[in-house]
């Protein structure tokens, strides 16, 4: 029976972490990368104290955990529904309690990054005698694991019954163009991933928008925008996988490389429109028109720099996080040095060159 659990971890949990590496990296950086190393312990102590002592803060954290768990659930349901995962139907042959237990463990392992941070919450909570709040945290997290386990177990046993929960879908025009097909994929097939990326980045941009004053340094917006972009790296990975699996036949079509490159640039600019709209009120109030125009250009350049990396022939998948780290760090330093224009142009030029060089040299290896 250990073999079944091992197989489930391999086919469900491993792809979860591989697919969400960008998002997890983003959250990790947000939690530990923006604070000076000498302040990090004090920063997290304050953060946890704030969470344990403020009801609203606690509810906010619970909402984020819930979103994370829903994202994980959506991913697990989606991949287990794929034809290549039909072998998982055999799990339904196990006793209900046993398969539930397996899915409970799967839910726990996908929740592990949050749980590890929760250990620090327990430590500080016990030290400060917040026993009731800690009990609430414990019950809430266990409820999240149970929820995912129940839904997964139920879904694997009720395959013959049509689902009664569907997410609303947008009818998109222009699906006869490259950008239209890519946008269609994000809006129709990756709704929850898009929503989650948007929740993170819109909250960030909103906080900055509310605090922005006339005469404020553009670097504040630039750095925040960079963090917002980082939460979209997952979408770039998903788009590349989509292209590999369902659009490889288009490589036979006489579409100029520059046109394909432009389609992606346009898409990556369009993806950031909600964040841009949020900042429109700040034009002339802490943000000049030129700086405002720069933001979608910087978005395309940064996300395209990730996209071209994924086109690298024979690349080591495990190196992706390292690349993302250095790309982010490089951009972070350049934005801090007031070189955001230079960064955007340099990334566009390098990406364009690599895209031209790599597009037809790339081949997905199973």
């Amino acid at each position: 029976m250990k073999g079944i659990l091992h197989m489930m971890i391999k086919v469900l949990v491993m792809p979860f972490y591989k697919n969400h590496a960008g998002l997890l990296f983003f959250v990790f950086f947000l939690m530990f990368g923006i604070v000076e190393s000498t302040q990090i312990v004090f920063y997290h102590q304050s953060l946890i104290y704030g969470m344990l002592s403020s009801g609203i803060f606690l509810v906010g954290v619970f909402v984020i955990w819930l979103l994370y768990q829903l994202k994980s659930l959506h991913f697990l349901l989606k991949i287990s529904d794929a034809d290549s995962y039909s072998f998982l139907n055999h799990v339904a042959l196990l006793p209900v309690a046993q398969s539930f237990l397996y899915f409970l463990l799967i839910s726990f392992i996908t929740f592990l990054p949050v749980f590890l941070y929760t250990l620090a919450i327990y430590a500080i909570g016990i030290q400060q005698a917040f026993y009731e709040v800690l009990a609430l945290v414990f019950v809430f997290q266990v409820a999240l694991w149970l929820m995912n386990a129940w839904v997964l177990n139920h879904s694997i046993r009720q395959r013959h019954i049509a689902s009664w929960v569907t997410m609303p879908s947008l009818a998109l025009p222009h699906q006869q163009t490259q950008t239209g097909i890519y946008a269609g994929y994000l809006f129709k097939e990756e709704k929850s991933a898009l929503l989650l990326s948007k929740v993170f980045s819109l909250v960030l941009i909103y906080i900055v928008k509310e605090t922005l004053e006339p005469g404020d340094d553009f670097r504040i917006v630039g750095i925040t925008w960079l963090f917002a972009l980082l939460s979209h790296t997952y979408l770039v990975q998903k788009l590349k996988t989509f292209e590999d699996h369902l659009l490889s036949w288009t490589r036979n079509l006489p579409i100029p490389t520059t046109k394909t490159f432009s389609s992606y640039l346009l898409l990556y600019s369009l993806v950031m429109i909600p964040e841009l709209l949020l900042l429109t009120g700040n034009i002339g109030h802490g943000l000049s028109l030129l700086q405002f125009i720069l933001l979608p250009i910087f978005s395309s350049a940064f996300l395209m720099a990730i996209h071209v990396y994924l086109l690298k022939p024979n690349r080591d998948p495990d190196q992706f996080l390292t690349y993302l780290f250095w790309l982010f760090l490089g951009c972070f330093m350049l934005v801090l040095s007031k070189l955001i224009w230079v960064t955007a142009v340099a990334l566009l030029v390098i990406s364009s060159h690599l895209f031209n060089k790599r597009l037809f040299q790339y081949e997905r290896i199973e």
């Binding site: 699906q175 129709k188 036979n252 037809f360």
Partner: protein, 210 residues
């Protein structure tokens, strides 16, 4: 005339195909080989989908040196086609029509010939494998391409559709298109008689004229 010169395809140290020299004149040919012999890999290389070492030249147009001009002359239908499930058949047809600059009349004629109007308005995710295969073959026949590659065109299609497909192949052949059809099973002589064979075996390929 299709020419493959010093063509090599390898994954790491594992060589899949190594063809020193192969010339295939205009015509319709059967690409023959056992499972795993490299037929699909060869066709994907000729289609410009998979990277390779060496040269692939069609009517003096080099795939590497002139990729767009080459791709304008070559189309390809996969053995087991997959398309995004959220687009309709019409969306894909229009997409390919635009890229290949095909006339509206030719599209209408093709759709009528295939008799698949009834489902083209639905999203591809709702298609059966046979419907998807027909759509894939139709997409490969859009435009005025000089070389049409059909990888395992017989699989998943109902028998009644095969005469339609082969009569279309003859029609296109008469108007100057060449065909490479891969299949691990022989064609029925009353439906299609190839001008020769391209045998793919032992990591290489050779041309045999009939």
């Amino acid at each position: 005339m299709l020419q493959l010169i010093h063509l090599k395809k390898a994954y790491g140290s594992r060589v899949i195909l190594e063809i020193p020299q192969l010339s295939i004149p205009d015509g319709a040919y059967w690409v023959k080989g056992n499972n795993g012999s490299g037929k699909t890999t060869l066709m994907k290389i000729i289609a410009g989908i998979n990277p390779f070492e060496g040269s692939v030249i069609l009517n003096a147009t080099d795939l590497i040196k002139n990729p767009m001009a080459y791709r304008q002359q070559v189309s390809f239908a996969e053995a087991e086609p997959v398309f995004p499930g959220f687009v309709t058949g019409w969306d894909l047809i229009r997409f390919v029509q635009k890229t290949r600059h095909a006339q509206e009349e030719s599209i209408k004629a093709l759709v009528d010939y295939f008799g698949i109007q009834s489902f083209l308005g639905y999203t591809v995710g709702t298609y059966s494998s046979g419907m998807t295969k027909k759509l894939s073959l139709l997409l490969a026949l859009i435009g005025d391409t000089k070389l049409i590659l059909l990888d395992e065109p017989l699989i998943t299609l109902e028998d009644s559709f095969l005469p339609i497909l082969f009569s279309l192949i003859k029609e296109r052949q008469a108007s100057g298109s060449s065909f490479l059809l891969s299949s691990h099973q022989p064609f029925r002589e009353d439906q299609f008689v190839p001008n020769g064979k391209v045998i793919v075996e032992n990591q290489t390929a050779q041309f045999i004229a009939s």
